[in-house]
């Protein structure tokens, strides 16, 4: 499986630092969620992983090899960006697919044709005539049918309506099950797609916030609700992400190891424990002071 490793990546645009010493290692063969706020460096990171751009400093190893100007590796990578990368938007979809078939070593033309049906794309239509959502759908087709050992989707859902997005997530999951590979999905619509992630990488201001299996992360916190006094006793010594009070009832979101004994004790004392949704954890982990969303 295609491993992905970055070490101390730095990349500056004129005045902003997009990647600021970013290091992480993915063992591959999983579906990864890449999460971060606007301007956190997600798109920049994916561009350097796909060798569309070179980092100022640091190393990237894909499958153990440097990626930049290394066609042996870049042939194995598909990055679908917000704006569909096609040579000529005057081309019809069928021409775009023929072109993809030429340069994608694992291209599956039958699967591409099935996906056109799934997303209701007419192969005779020109790319420039497509709506925003249909352009994203074309990106989804190009990314999935490429069957690249490292497949990355950078917010490939813009303009798609909810049914199309769900078809996209289902298609990713089904095709991943049939053809396991390393898939990285960057998104803002965390709740919708969280169930198909195995691990998440959260970045903020070009730095790594965390990289963990989704289950570990969501098991790390809980929302505790009940009589204020008992809730406070439970939350004592824990990292509190958020608290709300309604009369004598208090609700506190704690982040940290909650042991089974603590959970049992909470239930026995009449407290209500709920898991924290990934989206909520993400908001609190990346919500730096002064610029609350």
């Amino acid at each position: 499986m295609m491993t992905v490793e970055t070490r101390d990546l730095m990349l500056r645009y004129r005045e902003t630092t997009a990647l600021d010493g970013l290091s992480f290692a993915l063992e591959g063969g999983k579906i990864y969620g890449l999460l971060g706020r606007n301007g956190s460096g997600k798109s920049t990171l994916l561009s350097v992983l796909a060798a569309f751009r070179k980092a100022d400093e640091g190393d990237i190893l894909i499958d153990g090899e440097p990626v930049f100007e290394n066609p042996r590796v870049t042939r194995q990578i598909a990055l679908i960006r917000e704006n569909v990368d096609v040579p000529d938007t005057d081309d019809k979809i069928e021409r775009v697919l023929e072109f993809a078939a030429c340069y994608r070593p694992n291209w599956d033309a039958d699967y591409a044709a099935r996906l056109l049906d799934v997303f209701e794309l007419d192969p005779k239509k020109k790319v420039k005539e497509l709506s925003r959502g249909k352009q994203s759908a074309l990106g989804a087709v190009l990314g999935l049918a490429a069957r690249a050992p490292l497949t990355m989707f950078d917010e490939t859902y813009l303009g798609m309506d909810a049914p199309s997005r769900y078809r996209f997530y289902d298609a990713i999951l089904d095709d991943y099950i049939a053809h396991p590979r390393t898939i990285i999905i960057s998104t803002h619509l965390i709740e919708e797609v969280a169930r198909i992630f195995e691990e998440v990488v959260i970045i903020d201001k070009g730095r790594l916030v965390l990289h963990e299996p989704v289950e570990t992360l969501t098991a790390r916190g809980a929302t505790v609700t009940g009589p204020a006094e008992q809730v406070e006793a439970f939350a004592d010594g824990q990292t509190i992400l958020n608290e709300r009070q309604l009369g004598r009832t208090k609700s506190v979101m704690v982040y940290g190891q909650v042991t089974d004994e603590q959970r049992q004790h909470a239930r026995d004392t009449g407290l209500d424990l709920e898991p924290i949704a990934l989206q909520d954890l993400f908001v609190y982990l990346t919500n730096s002071k002064g610029d609350a969303q």
């Binding site: 997530y169 999951l173 169930r195 198909i196 992630f197 289950e215 898991p275 949704a277």
Partner: protein, 122 residues
């Protein structure tokens, strides 16, 4: 499809347990694969695998190398014991607490249960 209040893998594990208790899944019967579960529930296969692992740890399922997961011999008995152990704390105690909260005399609750018992006996 899933209740937001407990982790997905635990819900899948509970569902499999429910199927074993109801007899929908027999002892020594093969369980669907993690991939089948993942694709049915639209979740990552690792999440489904975690549910299976939990059931293996509890002795409910066992793995046959290269074939798949099977319901363990005596799985139903084990589950019945587990469920019986927590029946009073999980169902009866909250029921009594609720009855008290809305001021239903316990005698009335007991009377209702006795009527149900009589109907069953008929």
């Amino acid at each position: 499809m899933f209740d937001e209040r407990s982790p997905i893998y635990r819900q899948i594990a509970d569902q499999i347990k429910g199927d074993i208790l109801s007899g929908a899944l027999a002892e020594e019967e093969q369980v669907m694969s993690t991939n089948q579960y993942a694709s049915f529930y639209r979740i990552n296969p690792a999440t489904a695998a975690k549910a299976f692992q939990q059931l293996v740890d509890e002795g409910i399922l066992y793995k046959k190398r290269g074939i798949g997961m099977f319901v363990a011999m005596n799985a139903r008995t084990t589950l019945l014991r587990q469920d019986r152990e927590c029946f009073f704390t999980e169902f009866v105690d909250p029921m009594v607490a609720k009855a008290r909260a809305i001021e239903i005399p316990l005698a009335e609750v007991i009377g209702h249960i006795q009527r149900l018992a009589k109907e069953e006996a008929r």
